[in-house]
Symmetry: C2
Subunit: 385 residues, 2 copies
Amino acid sequence: MKEVAVIGIGMIDWGELWEKSLRTIAVEAALKCFADAGVDKVDTITIGCMSGGLFNNQEHLGSIVPDYLGQRFVPATRVESACASGGLAVRSAFLEVASGMAEYALAIGVEKMTDVDGGEATFALATAADQDYEAFHGITFPGLYAMMANAHMFKYGTTLEQLAQPSVKNHFNGSMNPHAQYPFKVSLEQVMNSTKVADPLRLLHCSPITDGAAAVLLAPVEKAKEMNKPYVVITGVGHASDTIALAQRQDLYSLKAVEVAAQRALKMSGKTIKDVDFAEVHDCFSIAELMVMEAIGVVEPGQSGAAVMNGLTALDGDFPINPSGGLKSKGHPVGATGVAQVCEAVSQLRGESGKRQVKNAKTALTQNMGGSGASSVVHILEARS
Amino acid sequence: MKEVAVIGIGMIDWGELWEKSLRTIAVEAALKCFADAGVDKVDTITIGCMSGGLFNNQEHLGSIVPDYLGQRFVPATRVESACASGGLAVRSAFLEVASGMAEYALAIGVEKMTDVDGGEATFALATAADQDYEAFHGITFPGLYAMMANAHMFKYGTTLEQLAQPSVKNHFNGSMNPHAQYPFKVSLEQVMNSTKVADPLRLLHCSPITDGAAAVLLAPVEKAKEMNKPYVVITGVGHASDTIALAQRQDLYSLKAVEVAAQRALKMSGKTIKDVDFAEVHDCFSIAELMVMEAIGVVEPGQSGAAVMNGLTALDGDFPINPSGGLKSKGHPVGATGVAQVCEAVSQLRGESGKRQVKNAKTALTQNMGGSGASSVVHILEARS
């Protein structure tokens, strides 16, 4: 298997981009990535998108993206694993390069969620849950994650303050991210007093509906060396599934697919979580960030709430999480999120993250997940010079 | 890059399967494949499905399929390139094995199209076209392929008889396929007098709406050798895109993405089309089969109509096409079609196709495409013993 480097990243400003179309934002992110890498022709493209069909009446991005990116005839593969589609696009591009099928493999993540109204968006997102046994009966994702939050609080005594703290931290970090949809700070009181969505989750525990795209360019490590500047290598790739329906799990307070995916990625890279300097994780709801901390091994099960209150995961803590602002502040265009996590990790590992730079960042972990943790993709990235 | 073999195939009977669900048919095809291979645990799964979202309100098959197949925690990737999603699933599984990421890689193709009514199905399929410049204005696929048929007739003098003949041939072959949705013969007169759909295309020029699934199991060639029976190797993989909108093409009477994908696959396998014994191609409409014959090089441009009338592509001809019955007779559950093509190729190369067996079949080509030829995936398969 060939060693694979990230030689370019491209992020656009995320938000409610009503003046732009699905294809436009995908192409804009890709062009920024091309400019960063100094490359304008690729061998293959992977596209992470959860549901162009339900959000935009547009499937077949594997044709439309190369077409509008000036890459006609280039093979392109759209991949989907609900909100983990972006991480999966990076994994798929990794395989293109690792197998020798391609030299330059572009991974794009994209979702244009505001072409439909809020109810339709909630319906579209619910197709990531079990349609027959969950969504059909009326439950949507805030309700599913609320059950997980209640289970975590009941099992471990996690408090409402602890549940609110990831949002405070992530908005603080996101306030320094020019691409973020909501680049402002929020206080613990604001989070805890925001509108209730699904008890105990409130509005400021929940990631928003977002239009956005992100892109990364992968190539064999020899190509990265030729560029004569610091670069980043993907040394671990982990991917796992779990039961789609929450009711089928052994418990509701742990994320087994995340645990397995992280173990696989760390094993492949020959590292343990102690060797990792920071992480970008999937905080679709604040409870998700707490549960992911436990699943990837940053803390023992049940210790995430106390750890986040103690500042472990703050930008200047021992294990910063979501320096980008996370899904909560940066936004969550579902298919784009996993690619944007890798963009942030690379930006940090290159030391290019400005005010939100993590000090001495050499090794990063990105964790993306779909549904109620029913699939997860984890990458380990390392700085090289 | 590791050499990759097909060590198992699984087909279910296709049709209007109202008593079964999307997950059920995917799992049934996979279990048949497991039984064929003598394997019950895989390292990775790829799933070709065009639109679980629009047909079944169910995305995230990368969770639901391993869950219901007894493969919890196994990584699974759903891929989509409209009606080429199945071919893409095989290509993606190929990369898993070729890269060394997996030993046993299962590719499943599935689509459950009759959970919605005919109008909704036509709408869902039209999301494979350009939503902004084609579908939004009301055109759907029969109309797009009708324009291609008219262009081909105008350019080359292709006749209505020639346009009808692929349907006659494919229904003849399909009458011997127990898995086919419409396993009966039709006459040239029946095709030419069937209900008009979009001039010059009539009902019996068009592939049907189908529920179906198919699966293939890939592994390194060493694993196939250990099974001590004849096996099949994938020696060529080609994949290409073209403009999504028909209006952007240089002409309407050729399929450039198919041409490029076929050239790539043949080059990778070190063969020319003259080395290929038969093909399974994407006859979503009868004009498509004629245009594909020209694109993959079976005949010169403009010669496909005469060739099909002369019996070149009949089961006992010099270059049999669609011994399975093709999309026309076997059915076209869009995400499953590309995987089923590989199932048929393997069955033929193993000499297991009964009454519809192609004589002395040693090398096969499968060609799957999305939209109006806006993406295509081609595989070259060879028998080994």
